[in-house]
């Protein structure tokens, strides 16, 4: 019997290679207090299994030294405890001793804890639900033979290889514990350093990534979603996508079991095709991964316009990003609501244990505006039976006003500007109302394109005009004709795809991987993300997408009527546009970067976080763009990428996240790395320049993406390609050459041939000197040979 004991913070750990007992022969058995893991993973344990909140702090500090926080306080005070309010203006401190930098980083940590807790709780619910339905021993299988590394994030962070659903429970326990610790650090009188708050932010992001991965691999494994399929089917998407002659169920949220319950019930009763099931936000992603009969309305910003248009005869909400006034809005159009998540009960009576017949009868007769049902099968039954009965009664009742009503109202508009001053995108609603009063509804219709559907204009209007509905009505014709195709979420990236592109990415010959993800709080509407995606797909970058951004990207067609998903391949390769799926599928994007380090570069994966992050940071030209990011989940998702060394750009509204992580290219001393071959410290240039920044315009985002794809490890050929894109885009969109080319040219071979003369002139002006291309790392322990050896 080979046997090893370790005593760690996690308790007594016994590893037994082989054990013969009366019961039988056990191989590779690991015992810990309170748990048994069957460990078939032969890779030796790496340095940081199940890292605690300070385990990876040194790595964080390396990043934070380069990318120092620039805080953008929303207000000047703190009101988190009864000592307050405390005025923290400039160098003032609060009653607890906290200063403004500490407070801002603390708020960022709070946001990331909320985000991480949301994904992890979502994962917990899914795993428990799926274990109950499919059994603890259901295998994890997210890509069959195409995927060996089924859970790259979990393996990297925790050092375990989950094989069955039950194995995910231990991973979630770890995540839950971390979030509790992290949240506790935000209590008054805990952490007192903004840099340590920031390190904890990164930790929150990392465990969030684990939580997301657990959620998605659990659902992909057992619910029959596409398994790492580049040719996942195309789903219908758009406002006018439902056959309005049929009863229509609208599902909103992120956690799919209740929607699955609906599809299953329809299937069991032979009713498929008799009822429309349409979705908004990530539940729509996941239900189209589950069933080809489901359709997608659009991103979260389309909730109100769809509800008010009366098209949904019944609404089922689960969790996350659902409007808090869904029930009130639904009541206005006589649409019953079923709440199905303990996190979002909407004040409704809990009918989980009641008879379905009673709930159906009460909903159909309008005795209750909605019910809470915390059982997905029962949700399916009650939703379908109710919608069939209520649809004919409702007759698509809507609260969208008639044109004449808008014109009459517009005549009474006082041009007080309250609507515009409430609008996040500063829309000229008063001017549009002025035009409407004269019968011209075009200006109102134009607002719809950049409207994020918040209805703050409605709330602000002293005349109580339902302005959002006015805007929807004015733009109705276009809206109704909106029918698009979106490739449904494919899930993970195959190992073989990684093998094919690993080298060209790391050498820089595929100029970058651009992850266009996140919510729909856009400054100018969703079409900008489609434009950005196509710009880079044409340039042979790899475009990965998820969430609402993946949907917005589908809402543009070319002259032939094709969307990006119909024009570009879904393969993880140059020029591909891949939808990985819902919010929790973002983990596959991190997973792809991790797999490049592991599969292509053969870096050890198991609990080896720092080394893999160092690899990704220095070599993989990946950039995240969350153009409409608004949520706390988006904050924690971004934080997970930062810790892995992947820069993230947000749209202008993202400036309200209160802090950027910005590099200073003008400080030469910030940009030195070790050459792992020699141990020398080598200037590597500001690549990537920032870890987190908000771009003001689409043009700025495009130029930044091209620039942030550069990495110290680029070969000269790769760097020349990346520079070509950066310079070309800069010249086209800014009308001038970039002013920092000299920082990115390391030797003559880096210079793009077609621009050689111009660039040589610039280099001369700037007094440029050649630098060498090292084997870059920030980790001294990875230096293979030190001087004098």
């Amino acid at each position: 019997m080979g046997c090893a004991y370790t005593l760690s913070k996690k308790g007594v750990h016994v590893k037994v290679d082989e054990l013969k007992t009366d019961v039988g022969l056990f191989k590779n058995l690991e015992l810990s207090v309170g748990r048994i893991i069957e460990d078939k993973w032969t890779e030796p344990m790496g340095p940081t299994p199940f890292p605690e909140i300070t385990t990876i702090r040194d790595w964080d500090m390396k990043l934070l030294q380069r990318y120092k926080p620039f805080y953008l306080p929303y207000c000047d005070v703190c009101c988190l405890c009864t000592f307050g309010k405390c005025d923290l203006t400039a160098d003032k401190r609060g009653a607890c001793g906290l200063n403004m930098a500490d407070q801002q980083s603390r708020i960022v940590l709070l946001a990331c804890c909320i985000g991480a807790a949301t994904h992890i709780a979502h994962a917990r619910h899914l795993v428990e639900h799926l274990i109950e339905k499919y059994g603890r021993n259901s295998p994890i299988n997210i890509g069959g033979l195409n995927i060996d590394i089924e859970a790259p994030v979990t393996r990297l962070v925790c050092g375990v290889k989950p094989e069955k659903l039950k194995d995910l429970e231990e991973v979630l326990e770890y995540c839950e514990k971390q979030v509790t610790h992290l949240l506790s650090a935000t209590h008054t009188g805990q952490e007192g350093s903004n840099f340590d708050f920031e390190s904890k932010v990164l930790h929150a992001g990392m465990v969030d990534q684990v939580g997301m991965e657990v959620a998605d691999i659990a659902q992909v494994s057992v619910l029959g979603f596409p398994k790492a399929d580049p040719e996942a089917p195309l789903a219908d998407l758009g406002f006018g996508i439902a056959d309005v002659s049929k009863p229509t169920i609208l599902v909103i949220g992120h956690n799919v079991p209740s929607s699955v319950g609906i599809i299953d019930y329809l299937t069991d009763k032979g009713l498929l095709g008799k009822v429309e099931v349409v979705g908004i936000c990530c539940t729509a992603h996941d239900i189209t991964r589950y069933s080809s009969m489901a359709k997608i309305v659009g991103p979260i910003s389309w909730q109100l316009r769809y509800i008010r248009s009366g098209l949904a005869d019944l609404i089922v909400v689960d969790e996350q990003c659902i409007r808090a006034d869904t029930l009130a809005e639904a009541q206005k159009v006589k649409t019953p609501v079923i709440a199905s998540s303990p996190k979002n009960c909407l004040g409704l009576e809990n009918r989980t244990e009641s008879s379905s017949e009673q709930s159906i009868a009460d909903l159909v007769e309008g005795k209750v505006p909605g019910v809470l049902i915390l059982d997905s099968d029962k949700v399916g039954e009650v939703a379908v039976e109710t919608v069939m009965k209520i649809a004919p009664k409702r007759n698509k009742f809507k609260v969208i006003p008639k044109i004449e009503e808008i014109i009459e109202a517009a005549k009474e508009c006082t041009e007080c500007n309250e609507c515009r001053r409430a609008c996040p995108n500063d829309q000229s609603i008063p001017d549009a109302m002025k035009a409407a009063a004269k019968g011209d509804l075009n200006p109102l219709a134009e607002i719809l394109d950049s409207c994020v559907g918040c209805a703050r204009c409605d709330s602000a209007c002293p005349n109580d005009y339902p302005l959002h509905s006015f805007i929807v009505k004015a733009g109705e014709e276009k809206l109704w004709n909106e029918k698009f195709k979106m490739r449904v979420g494919r899930g993970a990236i195959q190992d073989v795809e990684i093998r094919n592109v690993g080298q060209p990415i790391v050498f820089g010959e595929i100029p970058g991987v651009v992850a266009i993800v996140g919510c729909s709080n856009y400054p100018q509407g969703g079409k900008e993300v489609a434009e950005i995606a196509e710009e880079f797909a044409k340039r042979r970058f790899i475009i990965v997408t998820s969430g609402c951004a993946a949907m917005s990207m589908a809402t543009v067609k070319d002259e032939e009527g094709k969307t990006l998903y119909e024009k570009y391949s879904g393969t993880f390769d140059a020029g591909g546009i891949l939808n990985v799926g819902s919010c929790v599928s973002n983990s596959h994007i991190a997973g792809a970067a991790i797999k490049i380090a592991n599969i292509f570069a053969k870096r050890k994966l198991r609990a080896n976080y720092e080394e893999i992050a160092d690899y990704i940071y220095n070599r993989i030209g990946a950039v995240g763009l969350a153009w409409g990011a608004y949520s706390q989940k988006a904050a924690s998702i971004a934080a997970g990428f930062w810790r892995l060394g992947v820069p993230v750009i947000v749209g202008p509204h993202g400036s309200k996240y209160r802090r950027m992580l910005l590099g200073r290219k003008d400080k030469e001393e910030d940009w030195y790395a070790y050459d792992a071959r020699t141990g020398d410290k080598v200037y590597v240039g500001p690549a990537p320049e920032h870890l987190f920044t908000a771009a003001e315009t689409k043009e700025e985002a495009i130029v930044l993406i091209a620039k942030l794809c550069m990495r110290p490890n680029d070969t000269s050929k790769g760097r020349a390609i990346k520079l070509t894109h950066y310079i070309d885009l800069h010249k086209r969109l800014y009308g001038v050459m970039p002013n920092d080319i000299h920082l990115y040219v390391r030797n003559n071979a880096d210079i793009p041939i077609t621009m050689k003369d111009d660039i040589l002139k610039i280099l001369e002006e700037k007094g440029w000197k050649e630098t060498r291309i090292p084997d870059p790392t920030l980790l001294p322990r990875l230096i293979r040979k030190t001087k004098g050896e």
Partner: protein
């Protein structure tokens, strides 16, 4: 127009320390003249708002030419400066210039030392709001002025909410008092 001292986007409340109102545009000219190292930060809306005959960018160019104030064009608006024959604008993202201005050690675009006055215009209201806040809290010797036609409370000084006409009149006075025409 809304109340003069209210933030244009009504929920963007700041304080206790709030921007002083610029009630007389001459004051801006005086502050610019007194400043040792002034700088102008111009966002992309400068070329889009407010109307054809009252573009912020044209005033930015006139102020810069008159008073010799360097300009940092954010986002892609440098192309608009060039289209107007103004070639000396530096360019960098709004977050980058905000970050540098917050750093009292930054030696400026020309390497001659930190700025003591930054005039802002043309950024999205909320973005300017948070950047001005970052500077209010974290810069040491910098004063900021918002020259948009809306009250932006995190600046040191800001115009109140103004009509396009009043805003234009104010900018004309500033250019005039700085010695331009």
């Amino acid at each position: 127009m809304g109340l003069k001292e209210e933030p244009w986007q009504k929920a963007e409340i700041a304080g206790p320390k709030k921007a002083l109102l610029i009630l007389k545009p001459e004051v801006v000219a005086t502050m610019v003249k007194r400043a040792k190292r002034p700088l102008m930060v111009v966002g992309h809306l400068a070329a889009e708002d407010y109307s054809e005959d009252a573009k912020m960018i044209d005033y930015a160019i006139r102020i810069s030419n008159t008073a010799g104030i360097p300009v940092v064009a954010t986002a892609h608006v440098v192309s608009e400066f060039i289209k107007r024959g103004f070639y000396s604008a530096a360019y960098m993202p709004a977050m980058d210039i905000g970050d540098r201005l917050a750093d009292s050690e930054w030696k400026g675009l020309d390497g001659n030392g930190p700025y003591d006055l930054a005039l802002f215009m043309g950024l999205p209201y909320y973005m300017e709001f948070v950047i001005l806040s970052g500077l209010k809290h974290f810069s040491t010797n910098l004063k900021t002025i918002s020259l948009d036609r809306f009250y932006n409370p995190h600046a040191s000084w800001s115009f109140p909410n103004l009509s396009i006409k009043d805003w234009k009149d104010n900018l004309e006075i500033i250019v005039n008092k700085l010695g331009g025409n």
